[in-house]
Symmetry: C2
Subunit: 469 residues, 2 copies
């Protein structure tokens, strides 16, 4: 008999194998594109059959749904292993099509897709078959969907994650406000996600994009991923497309529970939400600052500088990583602001990665409190969020998270420099992978890719990108 | 009648003017060097007379010691203004001698001296008259003395500062263990400081240094300052001098209460002190790591690499800033470790600046706790320091400090890049001034100086260097 302390391995295997089967089925969605563009559809069919086959085999041997306890330990194990397992099978289309023959590179690209990081090893994206690029964008979309459900439906039940922190006491984004069950919550979130993807696809298609580019970029936008189908990312397209993508990146970085409340016309829950206001404020403030710097330093078109700035600010804050301009050619002070923004991240409960706005908001409040205490050492102060007091252990947990984040960032830079990368590149690669952004600074800047990173470095960055996903 | 809320301005003026008079008297100590080296002693006499004169005049008009309340507000005001006021008069010898004719540059050099930062604007140090260089080293020594008394005698009474944090509950370095009165504590600390300075001077003099170089370098070492009398800093001297300075930099970075307990043979208070063990561990670990990297990358003399490494590690950890080798020519990973060490700082209650070891120790413990809580969300853990539990508000205050430190560091980098400095130089200049180190990275590296920083930048760095002093 199993002791109550034993992990219910069979249930973990059942869950993971279900995910793999779903992954295999979703691969089949690439086939219409292979047919339409007269490409070889065999690699994707092969990948799909192997993935579904292995998934069904493991599902079969893991037995019927048993009544044994499925608790936090099992849930943790499923979540931790899910990224690795789906990334392993996700490499198959790249390998079989020969688009990325090297396993390390293919794994890096797949992990970068599922974690919605968007760093690429592809030197010539446009030479890759469309059906494979569709799968590549699909990894973003699946990853984004997974992240929302994880952060808003599953993790609160486990008692972890940013959106959970405030569930107990504050009227912030909490799961139970949407629906009492995981499935109910997940369905509502997916519905919003699908609707937003649909609208963006239509809007992009109505512009200068064809349907293929439109859907691929919508997948990458809503997931805050950043994979483009073009070598020069969104710089390939005109102002209309760039503004549409800016707006949808902004929406993807908002908590999906805010979208839900918006759809229910609960305006006060939307516009009085402090994280939402802070997120908007950071974007507006940074955009104004950088636009001013660019106009001060260069002559020319205000609209162009504003558009490039707002696009890049939203792209980096939301951790999407699309690019319209080589920001490393801007004055250092302008791209230094972008480097600072690489440490922000979207809202809790969005598809955006990184530290998240709510943690920064609470950190700023804590710093303010520290200042007040320096002046009045014996006075008693509390920190409020959305009108209610925040417990000290919540603040403590936020600072613990930041500390842990900083340590992993530092270890990443250390390993990258040990592999021979220069200081700027090492900083750029480490923060970009940790925050799931995509481009960084140095030799992994907006017009570069990650192909030149040593193999060990790619594994380290893959691990880093999954740590906080 | 004055309300109880009014600041006792007269008492503030009395204290500050006493400091100025003392400063003016100490300037006279340069005269013997002017005579010995047949230099013009008029500039230093002039500076001294003006300083003493102004001090005595203000002391005179501020009236007799009055019985009104002298509380925390007055003490804060004295401490905050003291740095500025003594730096203002401290510029006189530079200006009158023509060594640094520009006021901004002279103020930067003086503030860099008193805060024990050690960043210099001098292009050719050896061309400056010895008596002025003696005053320059003296600013370090006065500053170091001030910092010890502030952190171990005055700030605990105000309820602020690193060494205070742990006074209430832990057997760490606390003031009252030394002596119940400020004066009693200060006398004991000064005695240790003077004795260590004396011993180092003798040891250096016994080596290849003359008396002038020996005393100037001892002043700079014990204060963890970093001003040298040579253009190539300690690279000018041989292994014996370099090892002696390494040892005394190490001692200067230890809490002076540890020195006191050592002199009283209370061994357990020394060797069981967690901060002392952590401080030693960081230095030993970093030295081993960097030495290994250098030997792996270059052929040659083990002793040379070890010596350069241990010197540079101790110099940066203690925030002294002496240099024996251009570490920017080392592999990036080696000097990246030094960049990380720029964020450490000496022990609380030492002359070393920066974040301080005890805060890092508690941060690591907090990060460990955070990890444990992720695995066991409901278990109860406490953090212990020197065998006793640390209250949550103490940890909170440590993290508040770090947050505040990070924000000021970021603002510093932002302003430096806005002034046109490149990314690396901006990072180097900001952390170097904030942590009172001296050299940084980029164009303010170990073989550069701060002369090329724009004037506004020098003011910003001066302010930064005094924030946490």
């Amino acid at each position: 008999m199993l002791g109550s302390k034993d992990i219910n391995i069979k249930e973990v295997a059942r869950s993971l194998s279900s995910l793999i089967v779903i992954e295999g089925v979703l691969m089949l969605l690439s086939i219409p594109f292979a047919i339409y563009y007269s490409e070889d559809s065999w690699p994707i069919i092969q990948s799909s059959l192997i993935t579904i086959g292995v998934g069904m085999f493991v599902f079969g041997i893991s037995g019927k749904k048993n009544s044994k306890h499925v608790g936090k330990r099992e849930a943790y194990m499923i979540v931790s292993l899910a990224w690795v397992v789906i990334s392993l099978f996700g490499t198959l289309p790249y390998i079989f099509s020969g688009s990325i023959p090297n396993f390390t590179n293919a794994f890096f690209e797949t992990m970068s897709g599922f974690t919605t990081t968007g760093s690429s090893v592809l030197m010539d994206i446009e030479a890759v078959p469309k059906n494979i690029l569709f799968w590549r964008s699909m990894t973003h979309w699946i990853g984004g969907m997974g992240i929302i459900v994880l952060t808003l439906a599953i993790m609160p039940l486990l008692g972890v994650g940013a959106s959970t922190l405030f569930a107990a006491e504050s009227p912030g984004p909490t799961t139970d406000k949407l629906h009492p069950t995981i499935t109910g919550t997940a369905k509502r979130l997916w519905f919003i996600y699908v609707v937003l993807t649909f609208i963006e696809t239509i809007l992009l298609w109505a512009g200068e994009m064809d349907f293929f580019d439109a859907i691929c970029h919508s997948f990458a936008t809503l997931a805050t991923g950043g994979f483009s189908t073009k070598n020069d990312s969104i710089a390939h397209f005109g102002p209309y497309v760039q503004y549409v993508i800016t707006i949808f990146m902004f929406l993807a970085g908002v908590s999906f529970s805010i979208h839900y409340f918006f759809s229910k016309r609960k305006w006060s829950k939307v516009f009085k939400n402090e994280e939402f206001k802070f997120y908007s404020g950071v974007i507006i403030g940074s955009t104004a600052l950088i636009t001013a710097i660019l106009i001060y330093n260069f002559d020319g078109d205000f609209e162009l500088y504003f558009r490039n700035t707002v696009f890049q600010v939203v792209s980096i804050v939301t951790t999407t990583g699309f690019v319209t301009d080589n920001y490393l050619l801007w004055p250092t002070v302008a791209w230094f602001v972008l480097v600072l923004l690489m440490f922000t991240g979207g809202s809790a409960g969005s598809t955006g990665g990184g530290i998240k706005m709510i943690r920064h908001l609470l950190l700023f409040k804590t710093a303010g409190l520290h200042l007040k205490k320096m002046v009045h050492p014996r006075a008693f102060f509390t920190i409020k969020y959305n009108g209610k007091s925040v417990r000290e252990d919540v603040l403590f947990s936020v600072m613990g998270f930041l500390l842990f984040y900083s340590i992993i960032f530092g270890i990443g830079v250390f390993i990258m420099t040990a592999l021979g990368l220069d200081f700027d590149t090492a900083i750029g690669a480490s923060i970009s992978s940790l925050g799931n952004i995509g481009p960084g600074i140095g030799n992994v800047g907006p017009v570069d890719n990650f192909a030149a990173i040593p193999q060990i470095g790619k594994w380290v960055l893959s691990i880093q990108s999954s740590v906080f996903s």
